[in-house]
Amino acid sequence: MKLGLLIMEGPYQHEASDSAYQFAKAALAKGHEILRVFFYQDGVLNATKLMEPQADDRHIQKQWSALATENNVEFIVCVAAAKRRGINDTVVAEGFKIGGLGMLTELAIEADRLVEFRA
């Protein structure tokens, strides 16, 4: 199936982003296509390359970036949500791109399933 994922919470504070990542990995392993991962609301905070978790913890941004680049999945960070939360091009990590909210509507039109991860 053609999947769209919508991530609505930031890293570490809520499990939503971890769950979405595990779900995405499992979907790709099963041969499904992820059309786009869209980061909205506090989800935009997953995209910052300034993240420096403790050494014994997972690095949520790096996990996401690796998933995007290794599988050639498009990651869009909503520009309006990002700006009000202090995420802009100067801090956005590899694999993430800032884009308009219209790309979420387009995803809903094209995807067989849209799965939302939120608190």
């Binding site: 999947l3 499990e15 939503a16 769950s19 990995k25 099963k30 849209l114 939302e116 939120r118």
Partner: protein, 96 residues
């Protein structure tokens, strides 16, 4: 329809809200803190046993393990992330 519940039933009305709208036989996937709804021996066990007989209730194995929960009420089905993906393939999903 597949209803995704990720909030503790002891703290949030998300599952009860969902049940107001879900028709019997619909699928419910418990994950994150939602897995506590499947906890055996809790004060919600009676309520949840009824839910498990009216709906297809699934619970995410990885989130059970993470929280150290191994005793589940009767009638719920454990699935892993691969099974979660399969369920999404079979149903439209609503995130409560």
């Amino acid at each position: 329809m597949l209803h995704l519940i990720n909030k503790s039933p002891f703290e949030s009305m998300a599952l009860e809200d969902c049940l107001k709208y879900a028709s019997k036989g619909s699928a419910i996937m418990l994950y994150e803190d939602g897995i506590y709804a499947a906890l055996a021996g809790s004060s919600l066990e009676g309520r949840m046993s009824g839910v498990a007989s009216d709906y297809k209730v699934y619970v995410l194995k990885e989130d059970l393990q993470l929280r150290g929960i191994d005793k589940l009420i009767a009638g719920v089905t454990e699935v892993d992330y691969a099974g979660f993906v399969d369920l999404v393939g079979e149903h439209k999903t609503a995130s409560w």
